[in-house]
Symmetry: D2
Subunit: 298 residues, 4 copies
């Protein structure tokens, strides 16, 4: 019997080569080799090459979760901050993510089209994102909800979608941001009618039935003196995370010709994830950040 | 414009039907409908019917994680307890899981072959399991590691494998339990040689090179007076979780004919998840629990 | 440059190993190696193991094809014979097909669950079946349609479906045979009303609207003295093809001890495809041919 | 019982709605509805949108086929003509094919990236192409092989590959044309050495071992006075099929104001498939036919 070196978690052996197991003390039926055929039932789910890989997470039963944890309406800044914090944690783990976009209880992560992470296996990519995001959400909860304890572990489900062109990818992100806009405008008016207008939720719902975006803006403006466009950008636009290079100045000890040492300031460029709350439907954002997308015809 | 009722997390609208968005105050380019074609890029990944669906999670970089969190060698009971606690949390969320098996930093969850949960969509099933397990792991950490703070959020990746027959499924579980056996026997001898025998890890490794299971048992017995079969079952066999019906006696207030109330003991049957640390390779376990597997020819 | 031996169709090289192509006379841009990355876009579509693989072919636009080639109504024996002949050709090419079932312009081929043909790649299996069937259909046309020339090459499309259990597979075959029954009963009455009853096709259609199977049998029996159950089995039941062992006696020359030769009769068992036109929904057929299906729990 | 109108091949009913089947004369077990669940085992294999869909066919066992049908070496013009004729037949059936490329016993068909034929289902696309090609090959055999009868029906297998960008698609086609070049140069020298140089096939093989393209050109030129670049383009470049608009002049009867009729020449534009035997690796071909590829960023 030839067995590989113990190498993980208390020394677990991963891919041991077993030549002879006939004399197992416990039972000859424990021979692992005769069961190994079951590995051939695994299927290859690697993503088509040269496509952007999007992993989108959605909170499960977050309507109930948000009520049980007393989220403020229509938006809870602590909750949005925690979502963003968890997304940072995902991006730090997977540098092939070029952009992430989040709103409400969802977050989308976009892997560069040439990524070869996990050999592009869809299952690995989406479970790793879902797992990292979820454990981070619980880990960082207290930093955002100081007074409100976490009552139970929440869950996010995920999916993988592929986009072959820059246009398709931008349209995907536009779709999510348009969704953010529609929902936030509705929720803003709805909760304003309830909280400041004194309507019941049913009355507010009836009031908004059939209204257009312009109608909702009008209600906010004429009845409550609110200009929707002045509402906080994070609520109207959601959160965009991208990598940005920043120059950092650090002090470094250098040896002088005379063997003495000296501290000198050194500037180095470091890649960091930055939050934005801007429009990503129009061209401006993409013109200002030309490095996010790769050329289509590659 | 026809818009559905706000229904989630601060009232987010999911599947609104948008008839006219031309007059958006912000920008006509925010019309969500023109982006919605991107949904057609999602693919259907539902699992073949009448097959067992296995979701297996594996800890990512847990060798490093276990060292940074000072796991005891060769087995850390706190870590195994936390894994099991997290698996309980997953099973409580998804009652279609008929059995789960865990060892070291991995856990497998088996959905019944007739399950229609999430319409059998592989991505939903595996991300939900990965997410719930991961958030539970962090949530319950303190209950198991009282002295050792969690330094950062850990991650688990997952995969889905389908098994068409009871034989295939049992062979899968046997494969994982045989893996547990091989690794645990190796690790037990290895760390005994190091911790009690005074060998360096390199010396222990050399000593074990080429040894068979019988040799390892012999080393333990003759040099350290250890009978491996008396070692703790949780380490030798891993952890099996199954649903079991238990009769519970509760007191209940009942109204008597004379309108008075009285407390009476009531016995009711409740389904609960139970831990086992027994052999699942042989037939005995399956004969004792005939309800776990469904008939093959259905 | 190292190039493998010419091995196909006028000596085409399949998997040549190209070390240096820099000095191509025609153009350095013809270097094949720089294009070979495109192979990585192929995906693995191998079928889940231990499942029956069914390939079903359906004639494309066969309503029109049957009219243009003057098929007799309601059934054309030449057309059914040609379908069966083509199916024999497919089975002769692929011995892992354990049973085939055809009716009208469709044919289903079932590969044994342990087959490893083409590494179980779905695309290879279904295109090979579709191709062999189609070329055979044209090749053998004249043997069945002596007076009617083939006007243009017909086409069949195909699909792959997996069935994990014997029950599922039998239900699939029962589904196709029940389909055959329903259609053939309808067509028999319909064309009897038209051809012998003198109704127009529209009148026949109206007459049958809302009728049950019993009503249709009654029309045939009371108005045309036809007992449907006496109709030809091939039309009522379709065509089942299976492998059967037959003893064949052949003469063989053997050398006698005195060096003379003599012809002796020798009996040997040979596997041949046989046609059946029997019920495959009930148990009898399967009990009489216990070798077709493999044990479920393997 | 509600049954749809007979509509195919002798009036076969496709999607009949069966309300009650309890009184089937033959057997209540023929109730089709209880078997219809087997349809849910079919999986959706539709191709990712906005990608080029390539179906490539390859002759099965064509080395043997070409010998049995006495193909001339190194190239048989009848065989190449028949391949091209069959590819025309495929393109005529499926107008979404924008370009096809063939060489030796293989042919690739490219569907436009926005095609929605068969709802982009891979199985339908590849089996239809394989079937139409194969039946056409047999149907048209006699037009190309007048003296050589077809001995048995040949078979072609197929596969589907997706390419997200114009660059990827062009590289795929370049890969196949470079393959054509390498094989044809090898075969030309090989068979010249055998047929004109008097070498055995083994000797010719040895002679070519390790030679570069330049060496092969040199052998042809110095020993046999052959300039490879003057060899026939169809052999060096393979066959490219594209749709082209041609003006056709037809005579048409028109009614004059005085009620008389007159024949007048009318010019109309018609789309036809045209053969080319040119380089498709460089840019020239694509610049001359800008309509073949769609814009990447759509």
């Amino acid at each position: 019997m030839l067995i590989a070196r113990a190498c993980r978690f208390g020394g677990r052996v991963r891919s041991c080569v077993v030549k002879s197991l006939a004399c197992f003390s416990t039972s000859s039926s424990m021979a692992k080799s005769k069961f190994e055929y079951v590995r051939s039932f695994e299927t290859d789910d690697s993503c088509l090459r040269n496509c952007y890989i999007v992993v989108r997470l959605d909170g499960r039963n977050f309507h109930k979760f948000s009520e049980q944890h007393k989220f403020t309406k229509p938006n809870d800044s602590r909750a949005l901050g925690l979502m963003s914090r968890s997304a940072h944690s995902v991006m730090a783990e997977m540098e092939d993510i070029i952009i992430a976009y989040g709103q409400s209880d969802e977050f989308s992560f976009v892997f560069k089209r040439t990524s070869n992470l996990f050999k592009r296996r869809a299952s690995k990519l989406m479970t790793h994102v879902a797992s990292q995001f979820s454990s981070s959400y619980v880990f960082h909860w207290k930093e955002f909800f100081r007074e409100q304890p976490l009552l139970y572990p929440p869950s996010f489900d995920g999916r993988v979608v592929l986009y072959p062109s820059n246009r398709n990818l931008r349209d995907y992100l536009s779709w999510r941001q348009a969704d953010c806009h529609i929902n936030n405008l509705y929720n803003t008016v709805f909760w304003t009618l309830v909280q400041r207008g004194g309507l019941t939720t049913t009355q507010a719902e009836d009031r908004l039935k059939g209204t257009l975006a312009a109608d909702k803006n009008e209600i906010l403006f004429s009845e409550f003196d609110i200009n929707y466009n002045n509402e906080s950008a994070i609520h109207r636009k959601g959160t965009v995370l991208i990598w940005e290079k920043r120059d950092e100045t650090v002090t470094k000890r250098v040896k002088l010709p005379n063997e003495e040492e000296k501290e000198v300031p050194v500037t180095r460029s470091r890649r960091r994830v930055q939050d934005h709350h801007c429009d990503i439907i129009g061209d401006q954002f993409w013109e200002e950040h030309p490095d996010i997308l790769e050329d289509d015809n590659c």
